[in-house]
């Protein structure tokens, strides 16, 4: 220890001028107000000065303590004495850290005293001293100092040695940058690595450690010879970096290797038959990373289709718009962002094949997908309908060629897109959030290019929260129910009012039955009652022309009242939604009998991605398979025809078999 | 007290240094420059002065002690022996012959006549006097 201190003392003595310089520079912000600078600016100047001086000290000390001393024989002087290399290394590093920290502090103390932390905006009652003792922050500062000194040392050693090893350094640097982009950037940008407050430390620590290891090797093996020192420092440094990158890559692979049993699904899109589902969600092992799994619920086999980083740091690959299924159930399209051309790309899956290999299709001259885009896949998956704020287009699949386009005037955004027939698509639009009006619009587009856009008035202006469910079309696309201050039945082609079914601005919901009848639900204001058997809602049954047939009440909460899919002829799901963390029940209501026939405890219908629409089943009719979620992140598949229940995702789901190589 | 006489060696000569020291001391004793009981320079001092290895000086002194020319007194140094042995006549003759041969060869190389050589000899060794050695007495 004595020897370490002797070496450190000598290093400090050589560079003692840093200390008075720091004090002098630290006093500059105090005198600046005399020149008319505002106190807030003076503080900023003081901070910048302190940090700059610390950085300058790090560069000065780091570049000279080993590299310069090897070149001018100073290291030879030490190594000719009975001084272990550890004492040389330890003494020089100790002096470097002390010099950098002390000069930074000395430059900061004058203005820290002049401007107490309590007087700065946003801090109340703290002192500078306490702020500096904060664990993660001071560790981060310490790591930064080590990093600065280590970088200066490595750089100076490499440059002074002028050996061929520089080429190796350069090559490894490029390789590491690539590997960092490929394996570390996703960890950070997708939020896989846990966040504050230790995150900055985690990112910087491996680099600092690698530099320290490099300098250890440099002193132990290189000794007083600069060439050998450079080679040893390189090997030590790159070994640690390689190890870190390998670990990061392994961690990334592990974090992405999620099977359905580990998924916390927040969006479920299903094919019409109920066999394939596309699940979007997160997993506990990967924090915020948005996984996407395409699962064959009959076999448990699944594909992984999560996003990755493309060129320019933009998220490439499948976006949160998720999947659309063809009405025939034969294909699925996952839409995503094409980073190279800036448009939309589609991964088209042939679900009839044993191994549904995706075809990557770039949509010709398309806009990139956004949260306001809507997609639909034609019944035989021969074309894709894409609607965004400024236009709607039909693209041929699998070539991606644009077949037809219609421009949409500004001020609209798509609600529901649907194919009426193989070559005919229709989309209903609501006013955009910036220009609310009492209007909706319908746009038709055919593959031969015929198109038409027709805005039509509705009864009330929709609020943004109301507008996303403002139009509910029937399966054929010929009638819609609009929820504009009530529930009104309209013609889907021109918006002509056929009948007003409810006149209430409170919780209303409505749905078509497969035989054309309409069910409207209205909630009663909540009065105190037990959790899942609230004061209830009233369901009213209408015929296809809007004539009232019957009404009955169901015991459910009225908050978030929603009428769901028809699980069997005449049987409809009724659910409520108060909070994502409270368990909710879903009721199966027989509208002909006028009563609840089944209560699905703790389950609520699984929602898809909100702008995409579930395709209608082939040839109309109902599907008996439906998907539900509960608060424990289970996704449950219920076949109402057989009563079979299967957990498809979440804890307890089968791990399934991943289809690889796709 | 007169200072000890100067012993000079030339490391460049092919003659071993210890031999040069030995010869020098012998000559000094034989010529009376060093009298019995006189102190010789210490090993350390002579080595430093002449820029030679002390071991070499010690070796020379050791041989001289064994030959009876010097005696070593612990703690005091090295002195000329009380009764230095006289050089055996054969030794004297040999050395003299060697010296004469060197002089003759030198004269031959210079192209000097015998008569001039003898004159040179007489110049440094005047009739009845003592030869000057080009050094100190």
């Amino acid at each position: 220890m004595n020897r370490v201190l002797a070496v450190a003392a000598r290093e400090l003595r050589e560079r003692w001028l840093l200390f008075p310089a720091a004090v002098v520079l630290g006093c500059v912000p105090i005198v600046l107000p005399a020149f008319g600078l505002r106190p807030a600016d003076s503080q900023f100047v003081g901070l910048v000065t302190a940090v700059s001086l610390g950085a300058a000290a790090a560069v000065i000390v780091g570049s000279s303590m080993l590299a310069r001393d090897a070149a001018n024989g100073r290291l030879g002087f030490l190594f000719s004495r009975p001084l272990p290399w550890g004492a040389v290394w330890g003494g020089k590093w100790l002096a470097a850290l002390v010099l950098v920290a002390a000069s930074g502090l000395l430059a900061a103390i004058p203005w820290m005293a002049a401007y107490p932390l309590a007087s700065l905006g946003g801090h109340h009652g703290d002192s500078w001293f306490k702020a500096m003792l904060d664990g993660p922050r001071s560790l981060f500062c310490f790591t930064l100092i080590v990093l600065a000194v280590g970088l200066a040392n490595f750089g100076a050693t490499a440059l002074r040695s002028r050996s061929a090893w520089l080429v190796v350094d350069g090559a490894l640097l490029l390789a590491s940058l690539w590997a960092t982009w490929r394996y570390v950037a996703p960890l950070v940008l997708f939020g896989i690595v846990a966040g504050e407050p230790w995150k900055p430390v985690k990112l910087v620590l491996p680099l600092a450690l690698a530099l320290v290891v490099g300098s250890l090797a440099q002193v132990a093996v290189g000794r007083s010879d600069l060439h050998r020192a450079h080679r040893a420092a390189s090997i030590g440094f790159w070994a640690v970096i390689t190890l870190t990158l390998t670990l990061a890559a392994g961690y990334l692979q592990w974090a992405l290797a999620v099977d359905p049993s580990q998924l916390q699904a927040w969006a479920v899109t299903r094919d019409p038959a109920g066999r394939w589902v596309y699940l979007g969600g997160t997993a506990s092992r990967s924090n915020w990373y948005p996984h996407g799994l395409l699962v064959d619920t009959s076999t448990g086999r699944y594909l992984r289709r999560g996003p990755s980083l493309g060129l320019g740091g933009l998220v490439a690959g499948d976006s949160a718009q998720g999947a659309v299924f063809a009405a025939s159930g034969r294909a699925c399209a996952l839409t995503g962002y094409d980073t190279r051309r800036g448009g939309t790309r589609v991964a088209l899956f042939d679900l009839t094949a044993d191994l549904p290999r995706p075809r990557e299709v770039m949509l010709e001259s398309s806009a990139p997908p956004s949260s306001d885009s809507a997609f639909a896949l034609s019944p035989s998956a021969a074309s894709l309908f894409m609607v965004h704020e400024s236009g709607a287009s039909l693209f041929e699949l699998p070539s991606g060629r644009r077949l037809a386009t219609v421009t949409i005037k500004p001020g609209w955004r798509p609600l529901v897109a649907r194919f009426l027939a193989e070559g005919q698509a229709r989309v209903w639009l609501a006013p955009s959030v910036q220009s609310p009006r009492a209007e909706l619009a319908v746009v038709d587009l055919a593959v031969d290019g015929r198109s038409r856009m027709l805005p039509f008035p509705i009864t009330a202006t929709l609020t943004p929260s109301q507008s996303w469910h403002a139009a509910v079309p029937n399966d054929a696309g010929t009638r819609i129910l609009t929820r504009d201050g009530g529930v009104r039945l309209r013609d889907a082609a021109d918006g002509r009012l056929i009948a007003t079914l409810a006149e209430s601005s409170r919780e209303t919901t409505a749905a078509f039955l497969s035989d054309g009848r309409i069910v409207v639900g209205e909630g009663n204001p909540a009065v105190a009652g037990p959790a899942t058997t609230g004061p209830g809602a009233t369901l009213t049954l209408f015929d296809a022309t809007g004539v009232r047939l019957a009404a009955f009440s169901v015991p459910t909460q009225s908050t978030g009242l929603s009428l769901g899919a028809e699980v069997a002829p005449g049987r409809i799901l009724v659910s409520s939604f108060r909070s994502p963390f409270l368990p909710e029940d879903t009721l199966v209501v027989d509208v002909d009998a006028g009563r609840v026939v089944e209560r699905l405890v703790g389950l609520r219908p699984a929602m898809g991605f909100w702008t995409a629409s579930a395709a209608a089943p082939p040839g109309g009719g109902t599907s008996s398979v439906h998907f539900f979620r509960d608060v424990e992140d289970h996704v449950v598949r219920i076949d109402f025809a057989t009563g079979e229940r299967r957990i498809v995702a979440g804890p307890g789901a089968p791990k399934g078999e991943r289809l690889k190589g796709l | 007290m007169t200072p000890p006489p100067h012993i000079r060696v030339d490391p460049a000569l092919p003659v071993p240094i210890w031999s040069q020291i030995e010869d020098a001391v012998r000559h000094l004793v034989a010529s009376g420059a060093l009298r019995p009981g006189d102190a010789l320079p210490s090993v350390r001092d002579l080595a430093r002065e002449q820029r030679i290895n002390p071991n070499t000086v010690a070796k020379a002194y050791q041989r001289l002690v064994e030959a009876g020319f010097l005696e070593s007194r612990r703690g005091e140094g090295t002195f000329v022996a009380a009764r230095p042995p006289a050089m055996p006549a054969s030794e004297r003759t040999r050395l003299l012959k060697e010296g004469a041969t060197r002089l003759a060869t030198l004269a031959a190389n210079l192209g000097v006549t015998r008569a001039d050589t003898l004159s040179a000899l007489q110049a440094v060794w005047p009739e009845g006097g003592l030869p000057s050695r080009g050094g100190k007495r």
Binding site: N2, G73, R74, R81, W85 | P14, P16, R51, R102
Partner: protein, 261 residues
Amino acid sequence: MSTRPTPTAAQAGPVLETLTLGIRYGRTRVLDGASLAVPAGCVYALLGRNGSGKSSLVRVLLGQRPAATGSARLFGQDPWTHRTSLMARVGVVPEEPDAPPEMTATQLSAFCARLHARWDRGVVSERLRRFGVPQDRPFGRLSKGQKGAVMLALALGHAPELLLLDDPTLGLDVVARDAVFGEVIGELADRGTTVFVTTHDLRAVEGIADRVAILHEGRLALEGPLEAVKAEWGRPLEEIFATVTTGRPAPTIAVPREVEP
């Protein structure tokens, strides 16, 4: 008056030796299979021109570079792996004075005192006074000769068993050179220190070397006791050196030879 004491600690083997030592810088072979041995109490002179590999050999002996082939030994141990303990027994005077320039001689002596188990600051100070070196002037502002004197004083401050001098007279005038070697000789006489000196200044070592070796183009061209070498060649060391290192035959001059008794 001092008498020469016996060498300290009877050495079972040589103080310094190399066994077919080879040194490489990258692809270049600087030293090729050199074997030499320095017994205790010996003054060993390694001669060679600039670039013959002398300094590389010294660096390997001091444990600052590993050997490529063969080995080097100090006191029977590998200097690369035992450098710290070996340097306590060795005093080093490098080719270029390498002490920190901002420290004074007094501070340097104090610094070294913290590194060695035994250090005599008085002896160091006395030696410097004898050299006439101002002890409170920063090292960087001393003359070349004074710097060399300081390096020598620092090398001898812990009474080492082996003194290693790498080209100690480089750039020094005759007076300074004589002063340096005078100190070395004094140390020799007092303590029987083994001395290993590399140089291309032959006159300085001709008087004091016991054994000599000549390095030429990475190989030992000549090695042996100086006396025997000179007896065999019949010429001064300068001529022997010139002949060996240039391959030029020396002019023949008949010099009468002394017969060894």
